[in-house]
Subunit: 361 residues, 2 copies
Amino acid sequence: MKRVYNFSAGPAILPEAVLQEAASEMLDYQGTGMSVMEMSHRSKVFIQIIEEAEKDLRKLIGIPDNYKVLFLQGGATTQFSMVPMNLMKHKKADFIITGNWAQKAYEEASKYGQANVIASSEDKMFSYIPNLKDLPISEDADYVHIVENNTIYGTRFYELPDTKGKTLVSDASSCFLSEPIDITKYGLIFAGAQKNVGPAGTVIVIIREDLITKDYPEYTPIMLRYDIQAENKSMYNTPPTYGIYLCGKVFKWLLNLGGLEAIQKINIEKANILYDYLDQSKMFFGTVEKKSRSLMNVTFKSTSPELDDKFIKEAKANGFDNLKGYRTVGGMRASIYNAMPIEGIKALVSFMDKFEKENLG
Amino acid sequence: MKRVYNFSAGPAILPEAVLQEAASEMLDYQGTGMSVMEMSHRSKVFIQIIEEAEKDLRKLIGIPDNYKVLFLQGGATTQFSMVPMNLMKHKKADFIITGNWAQKAYEEASKYGQANVIASSEDKMFSYIPNLKDLPISEDADYVHIVENNTIYGTRFYELPDTKGKTLVSDASSCFLSEPIDITKYGLIFAGAQKNVGPAGTVIVIIREDLITKDYPEYTPIMLRYDIQAENKSMYNTPPTYGIYLCGKVFKWLLNLGGLEAIQKINIEKANILYDYLDQSKMFFGTVEKKSRSLMNVTFKSTSPELDDKFIKEAKANGFDNLKGYRTVGGMRASIYNAMPIEGIKALVSFMDKFEKENLG
């Protein structure tokens, strides 16, 4: 068995220790004589798994008691519908457009009320986070929606927008658990698990209790009601049990590492190694504004698309996989989530440096 | 490692060979250097996995080209909303109520149009399948909805209702792939994977192409549109990749066994062993009408609730797990899905016989 350095943007690399544990428990979870995926979600053993996962997540982030934690299905894209269906009481929401996912969330919300673009970085191919000072927040906006880290373009919010008292909704799919956050600044955070937390098929929602009401359109599908999901502790129907079990293992892995402060330190160190190299390279350069650079998705290009292709191909042959940039962006993208070890970054930079020396004309 | 005989109604037992393969591939899928759950859903390797899963499923069932196969999220409960949203063109659908899931589907459909109960077995605690001759099908019904196997009560349809030309929609969650079916009799079949096919979090939908239209209410969430899911081959967003991979392995396991004819033969043999024992027992008895007996979920009781409890407890201590009946039904339920080996049934019957002899007053 040989593991590659996997820079996939998602589904993405998971901690090797977590996968090893999962493999060893596949046929018999802790003496139960069955796999976690073979257990009733109502069984004592599984209820302990989901409750422990929630407890560990609360501990990791520091989630106050007036926030609910939900483990749902349908990915972040289902949240694009679920959020407006449940939160748009005045049928109005404001969006900061920093990439494809913000745009899709905005389009979906437009089905359910008036969605307003209050800032956008589309003018420069989403290569920066717009100025967040004195945004034209709608007076009766039910919430302001942001995508906190932009997987495709490689940007991130370093500060949260001043919502002028309105509820902040954050799609944190690609930066969730990468650093400490103050949950009280948010009304709702959602994150697809498949970037930093677990396998695809689980989406984590953290929602302030007062936002969970029975005031939603009659047509709201029962599975897309936060009240139903909260009252049933994410088990109105069978939840994605195996995914939740793996998320729980990742939470424990993070706690053992020292929590979000510890992983933030590592993530900054990892990103700095890569950005520092890019900033001095004569062949490779970062594609986004320096002050908006993501710590999770590092986008860069070389001097030509042909050279990009050559680099991606040779990198793959040398054990650095999934470095190709998003199809509409081109170039390269190194997604360096929590589970990417610092050795992977050092090895990549060393390979890039070698490639540069060999190919600089 | 010791495996128990797991009679859970779902999530449920999976073939041991499938779990062993999954465990062995957990850290490195076929030399890729990564787990299937760490792969981009757009990668060549994963696209091959999902395409092969679909191909194998088509081969197993014999699915004609004019039917689409979708691997979705949200469980059967999400289909309770998705089906009426997409199929209720005349805002009318007929329901045969044979248990809780049919009732829930009916209630959910009532949000989107007129849902009619055209037959029900509620009068006798859902212990039988209603007479299917000359049902009062609504003249402009968009479809007739059935639950083909009733997990909770232990009944099943042995023939399909005459829908008088209307589209048949079947919730086949707990009997999917347990026997051959003629797909052309159905407009749409859906099945949560967690009974007979794979882990919770994947729901399989087989839908006739002409039912996939762009005629749905404007409020339909984008993830709940069959057109979007079909056009994007179940990958409008990240699908539950690991679940699909496991479903694919179960399809191959079934093909290797000899397909649905072969597993049907085994399933009939398994159920007969258990029902034959029940029919001669002086302590245990089946709880549903003989001609409606499920081959997947065998419900039974003993002479008293106290004895039921004693039996369940002693059975568990002897390696027969999850035999407790559904809370509103009481008694026992042995779910004997495809993956339950015939040895498990024989061992259970032998244990029941011993228990009977020891406890018959």
